[in-house]
């Protein structure tokens, strides 16, 4: 069904829908059907302009009522409609074609159905694109102005009665459309989702980022300024935000925005001072969690491709990138080696106190400077304010206290900070390692009141150190001796609910267990069971921790596989860290008189981890707990840059190779085709085979630039398109068949048997097939007067002579004195008529029975070689000769009654005198032929008893042969009747 018909109905005068295709408009997740019509408008002063009309439609559009104009995209100089190659993806045979429509202002994506119609559509659109020749005028699209505000104008003709459905104002998007109003069709171009843009080395995280490319107005210059301005404001605002987040004031005022260092997925910014160098316009940060929608656009000019900056586009998440990543993962051992780093892990329940003493005994005494510090606190603040408003001055106090007590032999950079009410975790690394920390994320899980609140729960920081992923968890589990099952449950909840965003949002969030190394610290609150307080204290006094440990709930729960599965804990060689009278080393003397317990613990999970120490620090007396610390040597996978580059290169290369192997490729058994002695209406066939390679492919002969069909008229490829499965083959036949429409030009040399076919593989190569040959001129297709000047058989004449005579104008007969005396009628005509007259005058059904094709070829050869006697000696059906005569008349480039006389003849049909008068005006040779033929036909009628011919039969056969409509093929019944009538007169009346 050609839907351009329906579109045409809605168009105005001068507008013509060249071709239409039904496609799917893809905007984000939405898919809507649209009819795309390419409309041409002829300008008054010559020339033409095009526009793409997009319609919504209610079904397969049959009439204008079925379509409703949605948007017009002028085909301007900056218009492109291009197939989007699915890079790296396996092309699926027969799948839709995705095309991208771009103008300076808008960008739309369509899916068009697979097949040649779509291809034709794309070709037509390509042809419609104005060239880049600066000499030609820019298209102005004034004709489109009528669509801009249709309420002022009558509806386009075509009787679209659905007045209500017609959009009051059709949108005209894109193009250099000279109009100030231009916010049409903008919503379409938005892309919702996440985008990561790396700007000068800084990553902007833009949740809900709207790619509003099309948001600029229709006038690219006028509105661009506005867009830029809006963007600058946006950036300023963002810069302010980040500055605020980075300021210490804000931190100490208790904001939870201490994590002012934004991980960028690659490297890390070590301290705030480096931020000062970032110009505001280069920095655009957003709180990850407040998923604000940024409705304005971030235009290209903010993105600079500097030497080091990568553009992390959406394509990063494409199949190709994913493949590269997973291959890199697979080959990790090829380009990394294990290197040990010293980790310090500490946990301290501070019982809501402020720091009163130096933390160095806990954090740095008696150890060498660790590479990484993981320091966790619980019960940082027990006040209601902290609980309800999540705000506490203690945060800053303890942060300072820790920062000041880190090992003095090294400089540390804070990587991340996270707090949930009283549970806080700090992560520092030696400054020189900062560049190797990436993908830092922090999350919290509350398991307290109602199972959600933050009085209990956990916080965690995950990051990548070189190539190893590490997760540090600090948790404060449920209290009270009998509540060990709650504690187990809290642990499970933290494990299941702790989820980290990934750099690649298409990947599922990470959980704790997905890390190479897990370090778990905190006030786990497991107690010592089944022993009374005195017994416990006695065992402690005896330092019989081993015996005591047997009653430790955590030990028994882990042994029962109820909690911390797969985790390891070092031997407890220190006395329980709970519960002391504050400011002393005395066991709890309060009313409750809590039994001592190892509440504060450090566990780990993962390979290449060696615990070096595990101890408590009795020197600190601020809290009712004692802090605990542990040192580890952790083997981290470090990249060898050289090897990494090599591996990456190999992977990219192998992907390229795979991709190249997926480009369809065939082999052809033959590329040159030579057709010798091509004759009029004689089929010649040459075949070749296409052998497919390993990739399924679609092949098609395609048009050469500027041509309407893939080959010349006399040539045909069968089949001209098709599919090939891997390793399969198909035979293609190239057929040459010259008919009347081509014969004359081949005789005259204006056309030659010469062509190049382009065999195109979809998404693959093109192959050129060259066709050559020679044509043997024939009397068939030669003009009457040309034949009259050929006294010799046509095959005896040099080609040059045939050419000259064929090109001789119709009316040159009178002053043709320099030429040989012409014959009165073509000798070939005489040969056929004479033969029929002598042999077939009494033949029944003459001119009504088909001849034989092979015999026609003999007859043609006899006529062209002048071997008339062969006609008699060969045993030929009379009907074959009769048909040859009809073919001869049909193939005359100028009919017996010249085109110029056609209308006169029809007019005076019925008036015999006038008709004779018209005949007398014909060129002499034509007149001769006419009279000669009619005389012959009248002779036949004299034998009508035998041959059963009558005037009506002959008039109907010869009417349309002798009189041909100059307008071409259209057959008008009236005209045909008149033509027959015209001939009829001459059959009935002797001259």
């Amino acid at each position: 069904m050609d839907q351009s018909v329906a579109i045409q109905e809605t168009l105005a005068e001068g507008e013509y829908c060249i071709i239409a295709v039904q496609g799917v408009l893809c905007e984000g997740d939405s898919r809507q059907s649209r009819l795309l019509g390419l409309v041409r408008y002829r300008l008054e002063h010559g020339g033409q302009e095009h526009a793409l009309f997009l319609y919504t439609h209610r079904r397969m559009a049959i009439t204008g009522d079925d379509v409703c104009l949605d948007q017009i995209v002028p085909v301007s100089r900056d218009f492109t409609l291009e197939e989007v190659s699915s890079d790296g993806e396996l092309y699926i045979l027969g799948s839709d074609v995705t095309v991208q429509l771009d103008t300076a202002e808008l960008s739309l994506t369509f899916q068009l159905p697979f097949g040649s119609h779509t291809r034709m559509f794309l070709q037509e659109v390509a042809r419609a694109c104005p060239g880049l020749d600066p000499a030609t005028r820019d298209p102005e699209f004034q004709w489109l102005s009528r669509y801009r505000c249709t309420e002022m104008e009558p509806l386009p003709r075509g009787g679209n009665s659905a007045l209500g459905t017609w959009p009051g104002c059709a949108r005209i998007g894109g193009g250099r459309y000279p109009s100030g109003e231009g916010r049409w069709g903008l919503e379409e171009a938005r892309l919702q989702g996440w985008a990561l843009l790396c700007v000068g080395g800084v990553v902007m995280e833009l949740p809900g980022f709207l790619l509003a490319e099309a948001a600029a107005g229709a006038d690219p210059w006028g509105s661009a300024g506005g867009a830029v301005r809006r963007r600058d404001e946006e950036l300023e605002e963002a810069a302010e935000m980040s500055a605020a987040a980075g300021s210490r004031d804000r931190d100490s005022s208790g904001g939870s925005h201490l994590d002012n260092l934004r991980p960028n997925g690659k490297g890390l910014f070590v301290d705030q001072s480096s931020r000062g160098q970032d110009k505001p316009e280069n920095l655009l940060t957003r709180q990850t969690k407040s998923k604000l929608e940024i409705t304005d656009m971030v235009r290209s000019s903010t993105i600079t491709v500097s030497d080091k900056a990568h553009i992390l586009s959406m394509q990063k998440f494409g199949l190709r990138e994913t493949l590269v990543k997973s291959y890199l993962m697979q080959k990790e051992e090829d380009y990394t080696y294990i290197q040990n780093f010293r980790f310090f892990v500490g946990t301290y329940n501070v019982n809501g106190q402020s720091p009163k003493e130096c933390l160095q005994p806990w954090l740095s005494h008696g150890i060498q400077a660790p590479d990484v510090y993981c320091v966790g606190f619980q019960e940082l603040d027990l006040s209601k304010e902290a609980f309800f408003f999540h705000d506490t001055p203690k945060e800053e106090e303890w942060f300072k206290a820790v920062s000041e007590s880190l090992h003095p032999d090294a400089k540390y950079a804070k990587v991340k900070f996270i707090r949930l009410v009283g549970i806080m975790l700090l992560l520092y690394v030696k400054q020189e390692h900062a560049a190797h920390i990436s993908e830092v994320e922090a999350e919290t899980v509350g398991t307290g009141i109602m199972g959600r609140m933050g009085n209990k729960g956990g916080v965690a920081i995950r990051f990548k150190f070189h190539n190893t992923s590490i997760c540090v968890v600090n948790s404060h589990l449920a209290a009270h001796t009998e509540e060990y099952e709650r504690r187990n449950q809290d642990y499970k909840d933290i494990c299941s609910r702790m989820q980290f965003c990934q750099v690649d949002p298409s990947l599922p969030p990470l959980t704790i267990s997905k890390h190479d190394v897990i370090l778990w610290l905190g006030d786990l609150n497991y107690r010592i069971e089944e022993l009374d307080v005195e017994k416990v204290k006695k065992l402690i006094e005896e330092k019989d921790f081993q015996t005591l440990y047997a009653y430790d709930q955590l030990k028994t729960q882990v042994a029962a596989k109820a909690v911390f599965e797969g985790f390891t804990e070092g031997e407890l060689t220190f006395q329980p860290t709970y519960k002391y009278d504050t400011g002393s080393d005395e066991w709890d003397t309060s009313e409750k008189c809590r039994a001592p317990a190892w509440c504060d613990r450090i566990l780990w999970k993962g390979k290449n981890i060696t615990q070096l120490s595990y101890q408590s620090h009795m020197a600190l007396k601020t809290s009712d707990h004692k802090p605990v610390s542990s040192e580890f040597d952790i083997g981290v996978r470090v990249k060898n840059e050289e090897l990494y580059r090599k591996t990456l290169e190999e992977i990219v290369r192998s992907l390229d190779k795979m991709e190249n192997a997926n480009i369809p490729s065939v082999s052809l058994s033959k590329l040159e085709f030579c057709f010798q002695n091509v004759k009029y209406m004689q089929l010649q066939v040459e075949s070749f085979t296409i052998h497919n390679g390993q990739v399924p492919c679609q092949f098609e002969f395609i048009n050469k630039p500027g041509e309407e069909s893939y080959c010349r008229q006399w040539l045909n490829a069968n089949p001209s398109k098709g599919f090939l499965l891997p390793d399969s083959a198909i035979e293609i036949e190239l057929e040459i068949f010259v008919t009347k429409t081509m014969a004359t030009k081949l005789n005259s040399g204006e056309d030659k048997i010469e062509d190049i076919l382009v065999l195109h593989l979809d998404r693959g190569k093109d192959y050129f097939l060259s066709v050559s040959g020679n044509y043997v001129p024939s009397c068939f297709g030669s003009p009457i007067h040309t034949l009259c000047y050929m006294r010799e058989p046509i095959s005896d004449l040099p080609l040059e002579t045939v050419r000259e005579l064929t090109l001789m104008p119709l009316w040159t007969e009178d002053d043709g004195s320099q030429l040989e005396n012409p014959m009165e009628i073509p000798k070939e005509l005489w040969m056929m008529v004479d033969y029929l007259y002598r042999n077939a005058a009494q033949e029944e059904d003459l001119f009504q029975q088909p001849g034989r094709r092979l015999e026609f070829e003999h007859i043609r050869d006899c006529l062209d070689t002048g071997m008339i006697e062969n006609l008699d000696t060969l045993c030929i059906l009379h009907h074959s000769v009769a048909e040859a005569l009809l073919l001869f008349l049909e193939s005359l480039p100028e009919p017996v009654i010249c085109y110029s006389a056609y209308h006169n003849c029809l007019e005076c049909s019925g008036n015999y005198t006038a008709s004779k008068q018209v005949i007398s005006t014909l060129p002499t040779f034509h007149k001769n032929v006419f009279n000669y033929l009619l005389a012959f036909l009248r002779q036949l009628l004299e034998n009508s008893e035998k041959n059963h011919l009558d005037e009506n039969i002959l008039a109907s056969i010869f009417g349309s042969l002798l009189l041909r409509n100059p307008a071409g093929q259209q057959k008008l019944e009236m005209a045909e009747k008149k033509a027959q009538e015209f001939i009829h007169q001459f059959l009935c009346n002797s001259p």
């Binding site: 492109t80 994506t109 490319e213 000019s301 993105i303 491709v305 030497d307 586009s313 630039p705």
Partner: protein
């Protein structure tokens, strides 16, 4: 990421197909049956990194025979063109000038070109002196590389160089690379006029 098209042109048998094969697959077949394969237009994809920008290049290998010129001009919509001659064939060198004029006629404005003297390993059969190569280079302001698909001399270098030149020539557009709804950072501006140049 950036995607664009590079084109190899030359006379037949100068070794263009081999260059491409060496570059993309690191393979060389001396018995390469070139006649069938080379009658048409072939292409391969390659990814290289230049200046930290990942560039995907589509390299076209076109038939060199004269009679295909009217057809192959539609493939000349490339951003960069390798003009290849064979140092052991004086004729192929002579033809470079012809190719230069063909390219100037059909290729888009600002197209980058480099000159390649291939089969540098065939020193004993040398017909074109190195000076001659450099002379052309000067004349047309092109970079020149002496290469060998056989010994893998300067193959990667020349492809990388042309890619660099194209990137430099389009620095402005590159700086203005936009994120596109197509989820792909193709160089819109670079590809923009392709269809138009392609249409007659």
């Amino acid at each position: 990421d950036v995607l664009f098209r590079l084109l190899l042109i030359r006379d037949s048998r100068v070794g263009k197909t081999c260059l491409l094969c060496r570059f993309t697959d690191n393979e060389f077949h001396s018995s390469h049956i070139s006649t069938i394969g080379s009658q048409g237009v072939d292409f391969k994809m390659n990814t290289i990194e230049v200046d930290g920008i990942k560039v995907r290049i589509q390299i076209w290998d076109t038939a060199g025979q004269e009679r295909y010129q009217t057809i192959t001009k539609q493939y000349r919509r490339a951003r960069g063109i390798f003009l290849v001659y064979d140092i052991s064939s004086e004729r192929s060198y002579q033809h470079i000038m012809k190719w230069v004029s063909v390219v100037n006629e059909y290729a888009p404005e600002g197209v980058q070109k480099i000159l390649i003297g291939n089969k540098a390993d065939e020193e004993q059969k040398r017909q074109v002196g190195r000076k001659q190569g450099q002379q052309l280079t000067k004349e047309y302001g092109m970079d020149f590389y002496k290469t060998s698909a056989c010994t893998n001399l300067n193959i990667k270098e020349s492809f990388t160089r042309l890619t660099e030149l194209v990137l430099q020539a389009h620095r402005k557009e590159l700086d203005g690379v936009r994120t596109r709804a197509s989820k792909e950072l193709a160089l819109a501006e670079l590809e923009e006029d392709e269809r138009q140049t392609g249409s007659p």
